[in-house]
């Protein structure tokens, strides 16, 4: 019985994608076994569980395997129906939450991390795209404490990386995207998000993140240009 209920999560300490799954599990009060994966030396377990993408996070529940963090978030919400409900109940609000989660990933995250490690003209181009994307996020959060309304929800968890990973990327890349004067609503949301009891106890150490992303930046900027798809 206990083994059937076992929830296992393969993750990587610095990954915002596996972290958001942890936030969801902890918000729901679901016990899980965390397995740290060395993504630079992928285990045979990871390759077996996620042969298509070979990436973390991977959730294993009742021996069933689920990958892709947004897919996992919805699985968590549908399987553990206790509060907090991550996704809104209203279909139109759900569609909006899914839309903005996708937007955050495809437009803001890619551009921000790209702006961190790229150089010269490419850096300028990605920085501009990131700021344009942030403008749209700012419009969405205006007048709300959380994207979910009065309490944390799916979209807060999906965009939570903005509150903690983005400032690290800004420092490593010597860029500014989340300017508090230009984006006061998002800045305020980020503070609220980080102060949430579940979130604040579940963040990777900043002093480890800075050198890690410096290393990653060096690696990415050494690659031939043009592979970033944005």
């Amino acid at each position: 019985m206990a083994s059937e209920d076992t929830v296992k999560l393969l993750g990587f300490w610095a990954s915002p994608f596996s972290r958001r799954v942890e936030w969801a599990l902890k918000l729901k009060g679901v016990d899980y076994e965390y397995v740290e994966e060395d993504i630079f030396n992928k285990s045979s377990l990871l390759l077996e569980l996620n042969p298509v993408h070979k990436k973390v996070p991977v959730l294993v529940h009742h021996q069933k395997v689920i990958s892709e963090s947004y897919v996992i978030l919805e699985y968590i919400d549908e399987t553990w129906k206790q509060s907090p409900l991550l996704l809104p109940q209203d279909p139109h609000e759900r569609a909006k939450a899914r839309f903005w989660a996708r937007f955050g990933e495809e437009k803001l995250l890619l551009a921000s991390s790209g702006a961190m490690w790229s150089l010269g003209e490419e850096k300028e181009r990605l920085l501009k795209l990131a700021i344009e994307a942030m403008e749209k996020i700012e419009e969405e959060i205006k007048g709300k404490e959380f994207f979910g309304g009065e309490s944390i929800g799916y979209l807060d968890v999906a965009l939570g990386w903005i509150s903690y990973w983005l400032p690290v990327w800004e420092e490593v890349g010597s860029i500014q995207i989340l300017d508090p004067l230009t984006f006061p609503a998002t800045t305020s949301w980020a503070k609220n998000f980080l102060n949430h009891p579940i979130i604040k106890d579940n963040l990777p150490p900043r002093q480890k993140m800075i050198p890690y992303f410096h290393e990653r930046s060096k690696f990415f900027s050494s690659l031939p240009p043009g592979w970033i798809k944005i």
Binding site: H61, Y70, V71, E74, Y75, P91, H92, A95, R98, F103
Partner: protein, 219 residues
Amino acid sequence: MADEVVLLDFWPSMFGMRVRIALAEKGIKYQYKEEDLRHKSELLLKMNPVHKQIPLLIHNGKPVCESLIIVQYIDEVWNHKSPLLPSDPYQRAHARFWADFVDRKVYGVGRKLWATKGEEQEAAKKEFLEIYKTLESELGEKPYFGGETFGFVDLSFVTFYSWFYVYENFGKFSMEAEFPQIVAWVKRCMQKESIANTLPDQKKIYEFVLKLKKIFGLE
């Protein structure tokens, strides 16, 4: 109060086709508005200011964007018949994973296949064959990606069938020879009225691409 459903779309779009099939499966009456993507309508720009893209569903005045998000919305609102997603959370997760795979991999590589030349096109062809091989392997011996019945993954992928002739022509290969399971699956899907009545003729799509290549100087 009668539902007012409007779909802003572009006839060759495999993303738009997904929504058309979903609406047909559910028997929903809607108003179809063809968009000229070089002269986008006020309505499109107002209702989808972020991406300014089709397909766009407007239900009782409220916009829903992104084809797979629209399909899930349709499934949730009109939940009385023809479920598009399974009810079991794991089956749903499995369906979402593969639909996401189709979304992220299939369109891009197809486009590169007809829009590029030389080495770039060769690389695109190699990638194309790998991606379709993965899909063929996922389909396996099942009648549909969804198992016994047509589902979300089938819906997300079947619309590319209307573009197969384009891919075969520019990639210089035969879909049937390379991917017999996928072709058998497509033929099975085409027996459904909602699909057969929605997908444009492959030759029409091919002519459209020829025109597009001329316009963008990609010949």
